[in-house]
């Protein structure tokens, strides 16, 4: 990881030139070009990545978040972009603190973003500002809490219908 | 003793009693058995097409586990439907909901009233009634079948059923038009709407005794059109958009359970038999066996039996053909069904009428 970390990728360089100070760190672990950028700059950076001739990211591949519960800022929103014409990828990451859990929505740039942001909100509670329809998508609206946060216990269920008691569940009949 | 026999004969000669007996015999000896066997045939034949075995496990435990290659599944289905809870959904119109299934049922059965099964012997006809309007009666009756679907869809208090009902009404009403127009040629060729006249007209020959004047030879285009239109009228695949299993679940009979659902199913199979019977009657010479009139010394009883046999066999063939079509091709989208009718079948049917008229004029 050490040597890879120090190499700077073409796109990273491009971003550093275009948005001085916005790139907080970068690495190329196992060949995946990665940049960690400033939270406020995410919308212009994504716009640039999509429109610039040298990056041409036509496709938003994936959007998710990671919960580093012991670190601060706690959350990291991760974007994966892919350029079909230039055949390269980039991973853009943004740190989001727990107390101010907001980030600009980039739904205007790619049509796919809409649902991915909703899912991210559903699972982590990260609010995407200006998103047109930020509602739960995988869980039901009555669900409380954000299941993929590390402090949500895996076994805590919130049933919608009354659960039949365990002891009346089986009739072994003629056994 | 003789008096009793005389009274019995007198009763039997009474036309009213005769008609009742004919109805009973035709429905219970011909239509119902064929329709019920069709339900099994459908399952077995589709299984054969699809490389499967099909139902074969229903057995009679007291009779040496007799299975009859799955024939008993018919009995199981029927009996189960009777004992299934009869459910009327909340908000449904109870009266219409209850009577709707029997409209289609009655309409499907009424077709058999004017179909002759064999040549008349003296005054006795093998036909329940030979009304003058003949085919017009069939048009009237098949329209009645629409009510079954529409009322079922409208009274169920379910949106999918309503969609199915509207689709069914649109489809059946438009295809009635094509049924009518495709048969105009038949009227012209045989110069009557009465079934017995049409059937007898098919017993004449071209070129001496070479080719019988069957409907299929005199009106080949009408044969195809009528068959297609009738399949659409019975709402069978590929025209099963009203009950389109994949988009509106079960269509107009979505909310029906138990015996009422069974009535819809049975009506469908009776309608299949009805289509087959009409095809044979109108286009394949009815009960007439071609060139049989050359054998002048034929005994009357044998001829009648042969005629009934020919009629039945050809009907079964058409039933089979409909099953084969059902399991081979995909189904139309609803608007395509309508487009096929109005944009393709209507012009062809009109042209057919025109050409027929011109040929008849020239021939005379």
């Amino acid at each position: 990881m050490s040597t890879e970390q120090e190499e700077i990728g073409n796109l990273t360089q491009l971003l550093q030139e275009q948005f001085p100070g916005a790139v907080q760190s970068y690495h190329q672990h196992r060949g995946d070009e990665t940049v960690l950028v400033e939270r406020s700059q995410i919308l212009p950076i994504c716009q640039f990545l999509r429109d610039d001739e040298r990056s041409k990211m036509e496709m938003m591949i994936d959007l998710t978040a990671v919960d580093y519960i012991k670190e601060s800022p706690r959350f990291e929103v991760v974007y994966h972009f892919k350029s079909l014409s230039l055949e390269h990828r980039i991973r853009v990451k943004v740190r989001v603190p727990e107390e101010d859990c907001e980030i600009d929505s980039i739904h205007e740039l790619w049509l796919a973003v809409d649902w991915y942001e909703r899912e991210c909100y559903d699972m982590y509670g990260i609010i995407f500002k200006n998103h047109p329809n930020l509602q739960r998508i995988l869980m039901y609206s009555q669900f409380e809490g954000y299941p993929l946060r590390k402090d949500y216990p895996i076994g805590r269920q919130q049933p919608l219908v009354e659960m039949r008691p365990v002891n009346e569940r089986h009739d072994y009949g003629e056994l | 003793m003789n008096e009793i026999i005389n009274i019995a004969i007198n009763i039997l000669l009474d036309p009213f009693i005769q008609t009742i007996l004919k109805i009973v015999v035709i429905i219970f000896m011909f239509v119902m058995p064929l329709a019920t066997v069709l339900t099994l045939m459908e399952r077995k034949w589709s299984a054969m097409i699809q490389d499967r075995v099909g139902p074969n496990r229903a057995n009679l435990p007291f009779a040496d586990n007799f299975r009859g290659r799955g024939a008993l599944h018919i009995a199981a289905d029927a009996l189960k439907s009777i004992f299934k809870e009869d459910f009327i959904p909340r908000g449904a119109d109870r009266f219409l909901f209850t009577i709707a299934p029997y409209f289609g049922f009655a309409a499907a059965l009424s077709v058999f009233a004017i179909v002759p099964f064999a040549a008349p012997i003296g005054d006795f006809t093998f036909q329940i009634t030979d009304v003058k309007p003949g085919l017009l009666y069939i048009f009237a009756i098949t329209s009645l079948g629409v009510y079954g679907s529409v009322l079922a869809g409208a009274s169920s208090n379910s949106k999918f059923a309503l969609l199915g009902g509207t689709r069914a009404s649109a489809q059946m009403l438009s295809y009635e038009v094509f049924i009518g127009i495709s048969l105009l040629g038949i009227f012209m060729v045989y110069e009557s709407t009465q079934i017995s006249v049409i059937v007898d007209g098919q017993n004449t020959y071209w070129f001496g005794n070479l080719i019988p004047k069957w409907g299929i030879f005199t009106q080949p285009v009408a044969f195809v059109l009528f068959f297609v239109a009738m399949i659409a009228e019975t709402k069978r695949a590929p025209f099963d958009a009203p009950e389109g299993e994949s988009e509106i679940v079960a269509g107009y009979f979505l909310e029906y359970s138990g015996m009422r659902f069974g009535a819809f199913m049975l009506a469908e199979y009776i309608a299949i038999v009805g289509v087959s019977v009409l095809m044979v009657t109108l286009f394949l010479g009815g009960y007439h066996i071609p060139w049989l009139h050359l054998w002048e010394s034929a005994p009357q009883a044998l001829v009648t039996i042969l005629q009934i046999l020919k009629f039945t066999l050809l009907s079964v063939f058409f039933c089979w053909l409909q099953l084969q079509i059902r399991w081979t091709i995909p189904k139309f989208r609803f608007d395509q069904t309508m487009a096929l009718g109005w944009k393709k079948m209507l012009p062809v049917a009109m042209a057919n009428v025109l050409v027929t008229a011109i040929i008849i004029l020239l021939a005379n």
Binding site: M59, W110, L138, S141 | S46, Q50, L163, E247
Partner: protein, 409 residues
């Protein structure tokens, strides 16, 4: 049936829609318990007569918490969960996940393992397309076609069972190799089965591809423009049907696909018929890939010799203290993945299946995310369906090949 869904007042969609609704528009709930929805998607659809005015998809009915379970499991314990992501082609997800972890470790599986992975993966791709096309055809009424395809799938599953021990949920790959090698005589049998599949494909081709009714149902139905498809993040057959030859097997050159010669079929318009043709052609290409790979299959081990990754031989475990310790440590502590994060894209049955793994150096993943191709397709359903007929939902949804496990995870 629409009662079913209204019961679950998910996102207050109904009230929202009712506000906009005018008199001629009817709102129907298609799904989740609907024959054409494969059980788990709900479309709140507004229709004007037979035409679709608006549509709101609602997913999540099969959200089984893949990511949460992964974060609470060891690396190797995640493999069975990946089987159940895309349950129509489980091996492709298996392989994708194992390759992702191998990328995280910085190792490569041996050549033989790679080749067998390619063979099994392509078998899986064929079963995926067979199921997809069969189900799609069934929903437009060609039931016989469906049963014939499932018959073909059955031939292949029996092969899969011979190698992996399971028909569907295989759990076959390991980090740095595979659990089992292919058995003796497998290649011969594979060839026989492929011939049968070819017969079925030819038969169905004559039955369906030039069938007027089928073409009417699918041609020019469900068209989405090239630009929108890209923006929606379409991958796999859906994108290729639009005419864009994007295939992860080619563009990212993973595994041994570089040594193999295959074409990427593309469509022209991007309608349901193109998707059907693309999938049909892909099956032929997969057959050709399998044939080439079995010809080139090298001898050698099926797993790398690295005690950090691969369980030792049972002989070693029972006869040798070092083997026993290695075994114990791997089983009890799990694989000690180095810290770091990687994204590994692979070509699944539906498109790009990518695994994004984050490790902090302990035995358990911090994050194991799978990039679901179906997610994008379903999010694009309103855009595709608007203006079409209600009956068009069926072939469109069939051609999308939505797989619940992958969509909701």
């Amino acid at each position: 049936m629409e009662e079913l869904a209204t019961e679950n007042k998910g996102q207050n969609l109904e009230s929202e829609m009712e506000d906009q609704a005018d008199a001629s528009v009817m709102t129907i709930e298609i799904g989740p318990a609907h024959p054409a929805m494969h059980g788990i998607v709900r479309f709140t659809t507004q229709i004007d007569g037979e035409e679709i005015v608006d549509m709101i998809p609602e997913i999540g009915y099969l959200h089984r918490g893949f990511e949460k379970e992964s974060e609470n499991s060891k690396w190797i314990q995640i493999t069975p969960y990946t089987d159940r992501l895309n349950y129509v082609s489980p091996l492709l997800c298996n392989i994708g996940y194992s390759m992702a972890v191998e990328k995280l470790f910085g190792v490569d599986a041996p050549r033989r393992a790679q080749y067998t992975r390619v063979i099994m993966g392509e078998i899986s791709r064929i079963t995926d397309h067979l199921t997809c096309l069969g189900a799609a055809a069934m929903e437009v009424g060609a039931f016989t076609f469906f049963l014939w395809f499932i018959k073909g799938r059955e031939y292949l599953w029996e092969l899969v069972e011979e190698v992996t021990g399971a028909r569907l949920t295989t759990n076959w790959t390991r980090f740095g190799g595979n659990a089992t090698d292919i058995p003796d005589g497998f290649l011969g049998e594979l060839q026989e089965r492929l011939e049968k599949i070819k017969d079925i494909l030819r038969e169905c081709d004559t039955l369906l591809t030039r069938n007027k009714i089928f073409i009417d149902r699918v041609k020019d139905v469900g068209v989405l423009s090239k630009e929108d498809s890209i923006s929606f993040g379409f991958t796999g057959p859906m994108l290729r049907a639009c005419g864009i030859p994007y295939d992860v097997r080619r563009s990212d050159r993973y595994s041994v696909y570089d040594d193999l010669d295959f074409e990427i079929p593309v469509g022209s318009v991007g309608d349901c018929f193109d998707r059907y043709l693309v999938r049909m052609e892909e099956m032929w290409q997969s057959i050709s890939i399998i044939e080439q790979a079995s010809d080139k299959l090298p001898a050698g081990p099926i797993a790398i010799d690295d005690r950090q990754l691969v369980l030792p031989d049972k002989k070693q475990v029972y006869g040798n203290i070092e083997g026993l310790i290695d075994h114990f440590k791997l089983v009890m502590e799990g694989h000690q993945a180095p810290a770091g994060e990687i994204y590994m894209p692979t070509e699944g049955g539906n498109g790009e299946v990518g695994f994004y793994l984050v490790s902090d150096g302990s035995g358990e993943p911090v994050k194991c995310r799978v990039r679901p191709p179906c997610f994008n397709f379903v999010s694009a359903m309103p855009a595709i369906c608007k203006g079409g007929y209600v009956a068009d939902i069926v072939p469109i949804f069939g051609s999308v090949n939505m797989i619940g496990g992958e969509l909701d995870r």
